[in-house]
């Protein structure tokens, strides 16, 4: 089952930061990883992935560099110290939020 875009919108930053917490990835890998980790529930399209990556980079939550692998140049992203701090705050916020939603919906 896929979730609605609206629901994904509020959590996409948290998702990207979480995916990049485990390592340095390029755009295509990030979108694959999101699909894989969410078991196909989240599929972040290119139209929202790249603006978001650049927005997070501009906010200094991510940093990037170009690297050539097997003759192809790719832009890799990694999470910054500030990004890790924001991720921990957002994760906590999410736990509170999802716990509260669960409490209401599952009651």
């Amino acid at each position: 089952m896929k979730v609605s875009k609206e629901l994904l919108k509020g959590t996409s930053e948290l998702i990207i930061l979480t995916v990049l917490e485990s390592g340095t990835l390029y755009g295509y890998e990030i979108s694959k990883q999101i699909k894989l980790m969410s078991e196909g529930v989240f599929a972040m399209g290119e139209g929202s992935l790249y603006p978001l990556l650049h927005k997070l980079e501009k906010a200094k939550l991510l940093e990037s560099f170009w690297k050539e692998v097997d003759g192809r140049r790719r832009k890799y992203y990694s999470i910054t110290r500030t990004g890790k701090k924001v991720l921990s705050e957002k994760s906590e916020e999410w736990q509170t939020f999802s716990g509260a939603v669960d409490a209401i919906v599952l009651a």
Binding site: G27, E46, G47, Y50, H54, K55, E63, R73, R74
Partner: protein, 386 residues
């Protein structure tokens, strides 16, 4: 690193290619894979536009305006400096033009470095060596183009770079990427500044001893006669050879690889190699530009003009400036002032002022008093008018 419009396009293209390759790996034909990838990817131009809007990349029009303003300011300075050299403002314009040239070198150094860093990735330690090599190639080119001819500065600069960058490499994993970039860019700025201003970085350790590289071994004359002649085989020049011999192939290979990249653009294929070739070879064609030290004298010109106005009430002629440049007399402005004050021309000027203002010939005592007091001709006119 804030993205440029070009790099965002390359990033999206790379993503699209990945989609195509994945489909092809599943056995889909290339044309079919491209068709499916297009559907999955969506509107490329729209994604590009949205990402550019978010990233704050410099739009093309702004980049063009910036380049235009930069070139236009240079052109204006050239016209002012060439068209109005006799005005004191003109001499300041020449100084401004000289700094404009310096900023061109600095931009060339920093932009080239940024391309090289972006290509290798700031995480790669090779970036540091590439950046350092590029800086010193630019510095050597500037030394030859501007005919500074003091390669001693370059040796100091190379030692400086090694001292600054070695700790960076040792602490590589502990340093933030911002710090790494900052150190690399600062190193470039200091190196080019030292070359351009003819400053020896380690002057406090090893005062300048005026080494001149003279492969033809022609004896040095005039103020240079106290300098030490250095042969091309002198070990002091080995750091320079190392940079050139190792750096040129390194930069050439990197630029070649860079230009061969998938999704590469016309500017990378043509402009970068062309730029590199120009940086290296242009100096050989125009290396006579400063043979008579006319570039070196520029910074002293405003003061020379002021001294002439004060002592003789006129601007120096071109031949005067050439003389001061050639003999390096501009390095001792007090001496120039002293010579002009004691000159026959100044005595004649004083005499003329006395005639005009008082209607009589000045006595020898009055002329000597005016010469000794170092009073400016403007002040003398004003005092006699009262």
């Amino acid at each position: 690193m804030l993205a440029s419009r070009r790099s965002i396009k390359e990033e999206l293209t790379s993503h699209f290619d990945d989609l195509v390759f994945e489909l092809m790996a599943e056995g889909v034909s290339r044309s079919e894979a491209e068709k499916q990838a297009s559907i999955e990817f969506g509107d490329f131009e729209k994604h590009l536009k949205e990402t550019i809007a978010v990233s704050g990349a410099l739009p093309w029009s702004l980049a063009k305006i910036f380049n235009g303003v930069y070139l236009l300011s240079g052109l204006t300075l050239i016209i002012l400096a060439v068209g109005f050299p006799s005005l004191i403002a003109g001499t300041h314009v020449e100084t401004a033009l000289l700094w404009w040239v310096f900023s061109c070198y600095l931009l060339l150094g920093l932009i080239g470095e940024r391309w090289l860093i972006e290509y290798r990735g700031i995480d790669s330690k090779h970036s540091v060596w590439l950046a350092m090599t590029w800086t010193h190639l630019i510095a050597l080119a500037a030394t030859v183009i501007l005919d500074i001819d003091k390669f001693e500065n370059n040796v100091h600069a190379i030692v400086f770079s090694l001292l600054v960058l070695t700790p960076v490499l040792l602490l590589w994993n502990k340093l933030d990427t911002k710090i790494r970039r900052l150190v690399i860019y600062l190193q470039t700025t200091v190196v080019l500044w030292s070359i351009f201003t003819d400053t020896l970085i380690f002057n406090f350790l090893m005062p300048a001893r005026c080494f001149f590289v003279t492969p033809d071994n022609v004896p040095l004359n005039g103020v240079l006669s106290s300098c030490t002649q250095v042969q091309l085989s002198n070990p002091a020049l080995y750091p320079i050879y190392a940079v050139v011999m190792l750096g040129l192939p390194l930069i050439a290979v990197t630029l070649y690889k860079y230009s061969r990249n998938q999704g590469s653009f016309r500017y990378r294929k043509a402009c970068l190699p062309l730029l590199s070739v120009l940086v290296i070879f242009v100096p050989w064609f125009i290396n006579d530009i400063n043979n008579e030290a006319m570039l070196d004298v520029i910074s002293a010109k405003p003061k020379i003009f002021a001294i002439y106005q004060s002592s003789l009430g006129r601007d120096p002629e071109d031949k005067d400036i050439r003389f001061y440049a050639k003999t390096r007399a501009y390095t001792n402005l007090d001496k120039i002032e002293e010579t002009l004050n004691a000159s026959d021309e100044r005595k004649q000027v004083i005499q003329k002022i006395y005639l005009n203002k008082t209607g009589r010939v000045a006595t020898n005592e009055e002329i000597e008093a005016a010469v000794d007091s170092k009073i400016s001709v403007q002040e003398l006119r004003a005092s006699l008018a009262q």
